[in-house]
Assembly symmetry: none
């Protein structure tokens, strides 16, 4: 969008350049810092990693939640979009749900500390919590509904609650080699089938 001028415009050192590029650098740096120090890493650290002043971060992302959301937006969107696809491709809605949940878990467990702040009330992260829920709960609800429709599971499972449970199971999954969130989530999803007839 800002490209294709006939002239040969070099990227202009570290300058303000396109603020867009700066924002990208910020996002990349934040993502990087997040994996090592968690999403609660000091603003100064993130700024340093991105090679910008702290003010720049506040300009682009007024609250920390804004930054976190921005960092993970693509992946969350992708996750949200793949739900219906899986449902369409799979003969069993419950299997589709299972696969979808696995993708979500794979995403979550690799994001140091993310699951922990997904809790409602994580001071300053409400927007983050809200975003994840707004985006993913409906997808989950759709899969759940389909499975219930197919008679695979009970129809009284609340999508929000299930997502919260899954998120919780992912907390601290990294840095504990003895704990495999994926296995636990699998168990949880399997439980849906079992409880069906209850």
């Amino acid at each position: 969008m800002t490209t294709n001028d006939e002239g040969a415009r070099q990227p202009a050192r570290k300058i303000r350049a396109d603020a867009q590029r700066n924002e990208q650098a910020l996002l990349a740096a934040a993502a990087s810092v997040f994996v090592t120090s968690g999403v609660e890493a000091p603003v100064r650290d993130i700024a340093a990693a991105a090679g910008v002043g702290m003010g720049t971060i506040y300009r682009h992302f007024p609250t920390r939640a804004d930054l976190v959301v921005a960092v993970y937006r693509h992946q969350v969107e992708a996750c949200a979009e793949v739900g219906p696809v899986l449902l369409a491709k799979s003969g069993s809605p419950h299997a589709a749900l299972s696969q979808w949940v696995n993708l979500f878990v794979d995403f979550l467990v690799t994001k140091h500390g993310l699951a922990a702040v997904l809790q409602p009330g994580s001071a300053g992260f409400d927007a983050l919590h809200a975003y994840f829920l707004d985006r993913l709960v409906p997808v989950c609800a759709q899969l759940l509904a389909a499975a219930a429709q197919a008679g695979e599971i009970s129809d009284d499972m609340d999508a929000y609650e299930l997502m919260r449970g899954i998120g919780n199971l992912c907390i601290g999954a990294d840095n504990d080699p003895r704990y495999d969130a994926r296995r636990m989530v699998k168990l949880l999803i399997a439980g849906l089938l079992q409880v069906r007839s209850t």
Copy 2:
């Protein structure tokens, strides 16, 4: 105020009594503060509630984990002890497991913030983590083994992992009316039956 008599000095038992009384007051006060402010409540608050100096807390409980463990020791012990009892009383080991787990969950969800610091690596809470695990994982393992023996569940379920999963499901269960940890844990335990034949 501590001694005073120029005469007979008992073998330092009087002092011990003081110390013990102090420790009891501390435990009670800590328990009380924990329910309102969580287990991460400022040391000063706890000291104030107990009517002692902060130094006294450090003397009796060098690390915060020590204090937390002391506060909940009775309940954890009781929980550990009831495991075998349930197993003996119940015809189905899985049912016993389920009941036992429910007791654990009931304990955990009423302890504001406790589940959250049960994670390994919760700065300063390692001893807490260790205690809970040392005490409860074996019980869980016993129940699990019995259920596996009875053919109710697969025999490859790791007790540590299951306990971690259960603990995780309890995080933030208070202060979120839309989330019922008990339901999720029930699902998880039910999943054990389902996965059996896998």
Copy 3:
């Protein structure tokens, strides 16, 4: 100079017009922001209100004092000019002084925070201080001299000092319903008569 049209190049008047329009917008916007946020309002806010960049403000008004002076210049000028008029119209120089002072006070108390930065040494407002004084002290001096001449007041009253006192009395006069700067100033001016014979 930065233009490019192959056609008639006006003597750079078009640009001037732009700049002038900008300056007017700036003045209006600043005045508006000043009443709500005081004369110490963030530069960014003023720029935003004017719909221009911050750089534009700095170009037109290198220091904040320059901007403030520009915003109130018309009113200050009017105030300065009305002094002699009042003196000519009024039989009593002291009465003229009193009326003139009232006009000044009316101006000041409606300018949120202005009186406060009229102090000498209000970091960055020296030019403001200087302007007000340069413009108004002579007028005040003239009125004072006339009153002294008429024997209404002592002749040792310093105009600068009186203006400072009046300005001070106006500080914080808004946002305190229990304080009426006009009354206090009236008292001060009345005092001039009293001290006469001292």
Copy 4:
């Protein structure tokens, strides 16, 4: 072990000593810093001047207003108490008022920046404002009433308003050699006599 062993141990350098002594040092240091940097001086500066950590300041004086009040309490109290004395000793209530006001002004003008934060609404100084008013307005009211009773002045002068006016006149009185707050206040008080018959 830390006490007077045979070695030459000086009085234990900066120790905690009596907290009282510490508080005194704090008060002295604060007073000193206030005169050079104003009452809004950075907490760190005050702490440094007192040779204590910042936490110590917060312990003794939770809010800045608390510190400021403590620093000036003695003088304010003395001022409050001398009011009735002056009234008793002086034949003219107005003269007593004048003397009392002079004492107040002498106090205020030597306290760099104090008058400025005496304004209501000086973020974080409300307690300060309240203290000064609570303590001094009644005294002023008493003197005012006596003067009105004696027929020296009108009886509609509000003590709060007058004190505010006096306080305002003292703003910035230091650091401006051309401005003498005492003279202005004298004028103001003189005005009371003049306005009497209005």
